[in-house]
Symmetry: C2
Amino acid sequence: MTVQLEPVPDHVPLPPGFRAAGLHCGLKKNQQLDLGLLLADSPVPAAAIYTQNQLVGAHIHVCRDHLLRSNGHVRAVLVNARNANCATGQQGIDDARTCCRELALRLRCPVEQILMCSTGPIGAPLPVPRIVSHLDALLERASPNGALDFARAIMTTDTYPKALAQSGPGGTCTGFAKGSGMIHPNMATMLGFLLTDGTLGNGRAPALLQRAADRSFHRVTVDGDTSPNDTLVLLASGKAKGEGAVEPTLTELAQQLARRIAADGEGATRLVTVQVRGARSEAEATTVGRVIATSPLVKTAVAGRDPNWGRILSAAGRAGVPFPAERARVWVGPASVYELGVPFPEREALAHQHLTSETEIVLGVDLASGAAAADVWTCDFTKDYVQINADYRS
Amino acid sequence: MTVQLEPVPDHVPLPPGFRAAGLHCGLKKNQQLDLGLLLADSPVPAAAIYTQNQLVGAHIHVCRDHLLRSNGHVRAVLVNARNANCATGQQGIDDARTCCRELALRLRCPVEQILMCSTGPIGAPLPVPRIVSHLDALLERASPNGALDFARAIMTTDTYPKALAQSGPGGTCTGFAKGSGMIHPNMATMLGFLLTDGTLGNGRAPALLQRAADRSFHRVTVDGDTSPNDTLVLLASGKAKGEGAVEPTLTELAQQLARRIAADGEGATRLVTVQVRGARSEAEATTVGRVIATSPLVKTAVAGRDPNWGRILSAAGRAGVPFPAERARVWVGPASVYELGVPFPEREALAHQHLTSETEIVLGVDLASGAAAADVWTCDFTKDYVQINADYRS
């Protein structure tokens, strides 16, 4: 099961200055696309942020090194699925470097202008010859129409490709994401890629990306687990003519992608938006929202269509953020089920109706402590999640 | 499903100076015991620790107040199941005080020498008359043989009563616990009671209880959720003749009770001991152990009998404790499945065998950072857990 917010589009445009491609190189079965490429016409300002896990995939060592050496400029990003190149030691790092070097040779650019990301099961060596032997074909296919092929090539247990385009005063933005659990079965990766023709000179890309991530990918959780390979990359071609700031558009796009990751969570039947209001700061609102969104008891209650306000309030209460529980408010969709220390059982029918009839549902809590707010996205927690994750390797 | 570590004993002794009782007052169905009493022959040194949740049950306000006013001396502890008296506002606090006052009248002691604990669904008013009208009968039944009746009276979704006795150089200790999830369906409570005839004068009880809890109940997790009513109480009659310190015996007893809470976790088929070794401090070892023990991916892997070392290492990696992943070691039972950055797939058969054939299983990680260690207890995460928690109120 999964929640698909809208049909997969026939076409997703790329911002001017970018091409993309995806093909089958033999890592996945059944001719499914498993090798993807994002290509800029020339080196463009770029930034990346990575997992906070102590265990990190080989590609993260290489990306960090390349961005440092290129002073944050990137010509191309190569992505493979079905192999995380993680827990593979020095050989894994050497393998990722080899793939980057081979692509750089073909593009006649410095190797440090190439990034690589890997996603899939961990612990197996990267099949370098299989990847390198398909680089020429991948470059040939790179086109302004390649967005959906790229989105398909980076999928692992995702049930649909996640590619979206959005325009604003600062330019056009196209984003990609994969990751139907924060970790997939056997640990793959949350990967995200944001392209824009907006102008991000003077090293502005890293700070902008951090702010956008803090309000999008860092507010989504499927199971609370993070992967060793999580990576988010931003590339900005600067080809837009407009003058406006591109940050609002990029942030909105990143949020839409984050919502789709939650909606496509393993076993999900509901996309859940956790609304935290009345907090002292946005950071505290986010902390409380994350604890609610990670609580197995809240998430199983949604799976059971149970407007269990006590579990929501109790999860909020263990987030380490002080608030007066006797003045708090809890709502489920349109129904305010707990106010000023008192439950309203007669309103639970309306809340139950919301849980039953909508696939995008809202759980909210007002902490009665201030004026700050944050939304966090998650999905319900079903027996299918347990089945997928218990039986994966058997 | 549940893991029962040994048959329920026919009899559990109480330390000299204590009596106990349990009876049916009408809160549970089918004549099941639902009102319990622990009674000291005279007021004894006592301590309690409570949930860290911002939402707290009414009894916690009353216990805090009474222990303060009695200078940490307690004559009796009254416990009811099937009603948490939580989210019940000022009325709930008044109700708990009424129950304490009525018991104090009958014992001819100051009201502040009475503690009360409640466990069960939250949001409903406490049925005070039903409880008060059974106090005389409860006092009549109080006896040195009442331990198992008390243990049964405090159960909610537990599948068996948890009472254990243990002796050491400092005296005899008897402990009780309930809580088959850290929160039960609809939020009940982890409750624990430790009685000893050891001597704990000079206000030593609170610090000793905190140390014992940090090494026992604070190292067990079923679902990562904590309840508004969690309470642990220690009473020390001082009647033992020996001179030795009672702390090691109390700590060991508390650990045994904590293990039983994990073993009786909702839907559990395996008791899991997470062994963290090679940490810089016991606190860091505990932190890493808790994250592994809470990870849905680790717990579903155990449910699937999958020795998924990658999930264990990755959970350790997101605990916020730095360690060199390339020098770490991971084991599943007798099988060392990851060493010095390299997996050993050929050893997974032995690990799989351990997961399949044992009901008490071991997952371990060596952080290669120091000499400190900690064990944390949890259970596997099955479809039955989701079923129990999704369907509870439907």
